[in-house]
Symmetry: C2
Subunit: 353 residues, 2 copies
DNA sequence: GTTAGCACTCAACACCATCGAGTGCTAACT
DNA sequence: AGTTAGCACTCGATGGTGTTGAGTGCTAAC
């Protein structure tokens, strides 16, 4: 992860280690942490009174709060941010974990359609929170292959394969009965016409086609449908957000009350915002963390996202990541998301090479 | 809906109408209903004392309970069952609703892949509970079309179209570089060999193929992968359960505490049980209702399912339906599920004709 | 068979006292 | 100047108590 310049001034080392201790403790227990617990569990070499002074300072710096007077401290969103930016250990994922994840991808290496789903599932399982993934989606779709399969007299299935491996199936109703033979002929013509083209190119090519004769009209008619499919594909910012492991999120104590939980689910259906995040993440090419209220939509302010793009910048990109409560094990999440995204890069590259 | 023979003896009309009143009231308010409220809101022409006697009788008959002494009555699973079997008005869906649903299907008539998803979405929206749908899945897959598209030197995408419109994409790595031309030739051979066949037939046909020459080995190699794909497709009982409107279920007061809610989500991931239900539903060809504890899996005992098959018995069947709390508007649910399933039948028939 | 009357039950609610974890502050210490 | 012991203080959590009222079940009269 690229370290941003810190907006808040750096803290002295002792304050940082106490902040880190508070975060680590709170992340694993979900209980506000007090000064006594800190000196007892983390050998700080100072008394609880000193710790209290530092905690108070961290609080006035906006990195911690406490829910009420007689409770321990919990990190604020800014606190998590500071932690993630500067003091969290986001080194490489442990080799054992790497191997386990690689192994799981190896199991299904043949089904490219499933890779992004698998990524979400793996991220969910390793982090015990929700995993997210979108299929790699090109900025401008390129057609690789067009095929027409007869289904009945006047009904055919139009299959369009895009360069990135995505696939569209559209039913086409025909004005009059057409044999598979003619469909195949039309498909070959369209294939020659449109393969490798984007929507605009394909449209120009189609315009030059002779619309006469039964095959000509068929080609025209189906060609229009192909164009529509390409444009539709282009227009879809996020084709699909696959999620897994939502049950993990439901187990978090912060979502004990189901109204909070409901908002998490509503958040996942906020495609507009996820698309926006996708754009931002795709631009940077690195792991990005969005913490709690940093997310504009109100239903997102209780959750954090750790996202990374995969694919080829400028061509086709997708996103993998995790979604969980702001109280999340960020270093681990960042590590696995980073690793899975590089793995996905490899996979995509192998296809495209 | 086929009316089962009632297992409990029939009630007298007055008891039935009181049972119905209790259920209707409780379904809409989620509050236990007492004798006074019944006489006030439903013109029963008798005093609350009489109603109390009848309520007590219904309770000893196992159709009602009360959560505690000083609370009103709520229906038991058996009560709902009696209601659904005998006294609920499950007549045709109102023409207005029919039209609205038809209209929504009309919007996407070209994308058959999406029909079952749409069905779930529509069922969820009209009933304000979760909608479920599975794609129509044949008992024994028949291949309609095989295609091979070159992706890179030694990587090709194998596309298999099944008779029912389902589609499988598999990546095939090649021992040595192969041109698209040769891939096409191999695809044509495989297509001629396997189109219209089931797994067993296709295997026999493949065995007779001459495995010599570069094309021969290619055909063999890819053929094996086709077989594997067909078998895999056959083996999958439920290909996918698409659900929508889970947010509606989250709003039900019975799932206020998120541990109850968690079980609902766990229930949806119980593919084994859903597959079992699918078999039972597909066999009867009618709307089936599974109420609360009638479902064997413990995580299902708080929810009810209203399911109906669609497709062609013995060939390819899928299921549409709804899932919600046992306190559910059964007549409406049954009506819309029945209507949507007939609509899906029409759509599937149009493709197959 | 129906109904008025009534004693009874029990969840829900509000109130109150207790407790203890954890704080902030002050004064003493190094 | 920084650290620490000591201590008063705050406030959520816990648990006990009393009250209320919805709703029941039963009995006796109609």
């Amino acid at each position: 992860m690229a370290r941003r310049t810190r907006t808040t001034g750096s803290l002295d080392p002792r304050s940082e280690s106490i902040l880190r201790a508070v975060i680590e403790e709170y992340v694993s227990t979900a209980v506000p942490v007090g000064s006594n617990l800190l000196v007892a569990r983390y050998g700080l070499g100072v008394s609880s009174a000193t710790v209290r002074n530092i905690l108070a300072a961290l609080e006035s710096g906006g990195l911690l709060t406490h829910p009420h007077t007689s409770a321990g401290r919990i990190p604020t969103d800014a606190g998590y941010r500071y932690f993630v930016e500067g003091i969290a250990d986001t080194s490489q994922l442990a080799p054992v974990e790497q191997l386990m994840i690689r192994h799981q991808f190896g199991q299904v290496q043949h089904a490219s359609e499933q890779w992004f789903r698998l990524a979400a599932t793996i991220l969910a399982a390793t982090n015990r929170i929700a995993g997210l993934a979108t299929p790699a989606k090109p900025r401008a779709a390129h057609v690789r292959r067009i095929d027409l399969v007869s289904i009945s007299d006047r009904l055919a299935s139009l299959i369009i394969v895009f360069r990135e491996g995505a696939l569209r199936q559209v039913l086409v109703t025909l004005a009059e009965p057409v044999e598979q033979e003619d469909l195949t002929r039309a498909a070959v013509i369209l294939d020659g016409l449109m393969a490798g083209r984007t929507a605009a190119d394909a449209e120009r090519a189609l315009a030059r086609i002779d619309g006469d004769g039964p095959i000509g009209t068929l080609v025209r008619r189906v060609g229009e449908r192909v164009l529509a499919a390409i444009r539709d594909y282009d227009a879809t910012v996020i084709e699909e957000v696959f999620s897994d492991g939502l049950l993990h999120v439901m187990e978090a104590p912060e979502f004990e009350r189901s109204d909070k939980l409901r908002r998490v689910f509503a958040a996942l259906e906020n495609r507009a915002y996820l698309g926006q995040l996708l754009d931002r993440v795709a631009g940077t090419g690195a792991v990005q963390v969005f913490i709690g209220a940093e997310n504009a939509p109100p239903e997102m302010r209780d959750v954090s996202l750790v996202l990374a793009p995969y694919g080829e910048p400028g061509r086709a990109v997708g996103v993998v990541g995790v979604l969980g409560p702001t109280r999340m094990a960020y270093p681990q999440a960042i590590g696995t998301v980073r690793f899975v995204s590089t793995l996905m890069n490899e996979l995509v590259h192998n296809i495209d090479a």
